[in-house]
């Protein structure tokens, strides 16, 4: 019993020291740890967006940023644990694959703050950042239908998981809104996490879709997307990018990009936490909060006519006001949104 007491006292002292220490550090500099998914920071898509948001915070808010990329599944927990053990104030996990690790580490380090993108965790020190992907997919689907006289449209997803199905369902609804008789061809690159990083196979799928008459392909496949953009250039057809603004990659062949502003979500989370307003809970980003959008810039403005643009803006308003309810794969299948 006595031993137990001293042990607890030791713990207490340790925690006090920890809290003191973290406050001293906070006064000096706010430290953020960013754990990227296997795709890595150069996937020009999902992870790139997260990295962009964090580096923006580093420049503008003067925080200390350290990013790492997971090398294998077991390493994810290891990385979160290393960040938590050091004096990092906020640790951000990017991607649903990190849900289990963040949950476990957040429980063991209750004094640290965590954030997770694309996953939902109910804990006092975790902020979950979720996106309404179907809303943006709906808009780019509508645009694809406008740009496709034949009504043959394609979708290429990375990994066959509920999250990507959610893109596909919203996309199809958008297409059907403009062209009821349109035909959507859907392909998935793979079923394992390799699918996020397999541009060669993505290109093969895209070429076969284009050859069968498809005019626009929407791709939601992380770093694999570059293969589809290559195919679009080769066949002089159109593709739609995802997550980051990818219009610049192949100007003239990328119709638009469905923006999933992971960068904004990450930046805002860091800013809130630095200012001492970190709030746990679930944040949903949609068209309304501009967390989801479609990209128009100098690379693709010639591809979209003023009329099409105004039509899109009208649809956007209707979604925001709730007049149009975009079907949600999660709700359709009543699968937990984890």
């Amino acid at each position: 019993m006595k031993a137990l007491n001293t042990l607890q006292k030791g713990h207490l002292r340790f925690f006090c020291a920890l809290i003191l220490l973290s406050q001293i550090v906070q006064a000096e500099n706010f430290r953020v740890g960013l754990v990227l998914d296997k795709g890595g920071k150069d996937d020009k898509s999902f992870n790139s967006a997260a990295y962009l948001g964090a580096t923006k915070a580093q420049k503008e808010l003067g925080i200390d940023l350290k990013y790492v990329e997971a090398s294998d599944t077991n390493a994810i927990e290891n990385l979160h644990r290393s960040f938590a053990k050091k004096d990092f104030n906020l640790i951000i996990g990017i991607g649903f694959a990190q849900v289990d690790a963040v949950k476990k580490i957040a429980e063991q380090f209750p004094t640290k703050n965590f954030a997770i993108v694309d996953g939902e965790i109910n804990a006092k020190n975790v902020k979950s950042l979720l996106f309404e992907e179907q809303e943006g997919s709906y808009l780019v689907g509508a645009l694809a239908a406008m740009k496709s006289p034949s009504g043959k449209i394609g979708f290429i997803g990375g990994m066959d998981i509920p999250l990507i199905r959610r893109f596909a369902v919203g996309y199809e609804a958008g297409i059907k809104k403009i062209k009821l008789d349109a035909k959507l061809t859907t392909n998935f690159i793979g079923v394992s996490s390799e699918a996020w990083n397999n541009p060669a196979k993505a290109k093969e799928l895209a070429l076969s879709q284009y050859n069968s008459g498809v005019e626009v392909i929407f791709v939601a496949a992380g770093a694999s997307g570059s293969g589809i953009f290559d195919a679009a250039e080769e066949k002089k057809k159109l593709a739609i990018g995802v997550d980051s603004n990818q219009n610049w990659i192949k100007p003239g062949f990328i119709l638009t990009s469905m923006l999933k502003r992971v960068d904004i979500a990450v930046y805002d989370t860091i800013k809130e936490a630095r200012d001492g307003h970190f709030a746990a809970g679930t944040n949903r980003f949609g068209l309304k909060s501009k967390g989801i959008d479609y990209a128009v810039d100098q690379y693709n403005e010639k591809l979209i006519s003023a009329e099409q643009k105004s039509q899109l803006e009208k649809l956007k308003e209707q979604i925001i006001s709730g007049k149009i309810v975009v079907p949600d794969y999660y709700k359709q299948n009543s699968k937990p949104t984890k």
């Binding site: 997971a70 090398s71 599944t73 649903f96 079923v191």
Partner: protein, 355 residues
């Protein structure tokens, strides 16, 4: 000894490389050391990687002794891991004591069959085992992903993984390794791995089967003539090799995660080849070389974490440099080198062969 020299050379080259990347080599060495031994969690995770690598290293080593090059360990362990998880999900009412045993048997059988197929094709049909095992890897990943996504899929998660197996299938109740390394995935399979390595050493050195296996590997014709059925031996060797790779399932499913997660393997099957090479196919040496590669695997993540310039990809380069130098040094003829540079008299080839 040569292998050790190669490893040291590789490490030295790596540290030189890190100096170019603007990091102090001594600092890098410290990080790697700390990453492996820093805390019980660190050591636990390293040992967890090592356990899997011991099995795949032994798998490759056994096939090597039979003159076969098994690069299909990755496929064999994938199938076995799924088999173990599937057993747990299909027989949820299995009584506690035999449950883990049943899952082990399923894993070994699945890995064994996956290894025996290329073995049989090699022995009786002459198809080259390198090609066949490589193809079997693709089949394995396709088949397992089908089952994971369509039959055993966990609906609670976005990750492609199976549901959790019932708790009686886990090693937990009698797992003292797990208690020693809190929070880390290390488990009792570590002990099993050490015992299996000793067992394989015994098998190769002290048994008739081991003798026949090695003889088949050294000279197939001679072994046939002396009455060994080398075809059968080959099939058995590959089956055993597959079963050994399949034992990774014990570490992954029953020991730690309790489910089959697609893409769980950190290329254990392929790193296993390097592990076996480094140990020069000595089962006991494999214990050591597996640990070294585990340190590198674990260190990769920590180097990324602790340094400014060393990223995950750089750590992979370091691993590759070490593997290269180990292999290069093994093929390096020291005698030739010595006679060329250190002795004036140019001895004829015949003389050297006499030595």
């Amino acid at each position: 000894m040569k292998a050790f020299f190669g490893f040291t050379l590789g490490l030295a080259l790596c540290l030189g490389l890190t100096a170019f990347a603007g990091e102090s080599p001594l600092h890098i060495l410290m990080i790697i050391f700390k990453s492996a031994f820093g805390t019980t969690y660190d050591l636990g995770l390293t040992l967890f990687y090592a356990t899997s690598l011991v099995f795949t290293g032994l798998s490759v080593c056994l096939a090597f002794h039979a003159g076969l090059f098994n690069i299909g360990a990755e496929g064999q362990l994938t199938v076995a891991t799924l088999a173990a998880a599937a057993t747990g999900l299909l027989f949820p009412n299995c009584p506690g004591v035999i449950a883990p045993l049943l899952a082990c048997v399923a894993a070994l059988a699945a890995g064994g069959i996956w290894g025996a197929i290329p073995g049989w094709l090699k022995a009786y049909r002459g198809s080259h085992e390198v090609v066949v095992t490589m193809m079997m890897n693709f089949i394995a990943s396709g088949v397992t992903s089908y089952f994971v996504l369509n039959t055993f899929r966990s609906l609670d998660s976005q990750n492609p993984e199976t549901k959790l197996i019932p708790t009686q299938f886990m090693f937990r109740d009698f797992d003292f390794v797990k208690l020693a390394f809190a929070d880390s995935p290390a488990n009792i399979t570590l002990v099993i791995a050490i015992l299996v390595a000793i067992g394989i050493w015994f098998l190769l050195r002290k048994t008739v089967f081991g003798f026949e296996l090695k003889m088949t590997g050294k000279n197939e014709m001679a072994s046939e003539l002396s009455g060994i059925s080398s075809k059968k031996i080959k099939v058995w060797a590959m089956a055993l090799s597959g079963a050994l790779a399949g034992m990774v399932a014990l570490n992954e499913v029953m020991g730690s995660s309790g489910k089959f997660r697609m893409g769980f393997s950190a290329d254990y099957g392929f790193v296993g080849i390097a592990v076996a090479l480094l140990a020069r196919n000595n089962p006991i040496g494999i214990l050591l070389s597996a640990f070294l590669f585990a340190v590198l695997q674990k260190g990769a993540a920590d180097l990324d974490m602790e340094t400014q310039n060393i990223t995950r990809d750089f750590a992979k380069v370091l691993q590759a440099v070490i593997i290269f130098s180990v292999v290069a040094v093994q093929y390096f003829d020291f005698k030739k080198f010595r006679s060329k540079f250190f002795s004036r008299s140019i001895s004829s080839k015949k003389d050297r062969e006499k030595i």
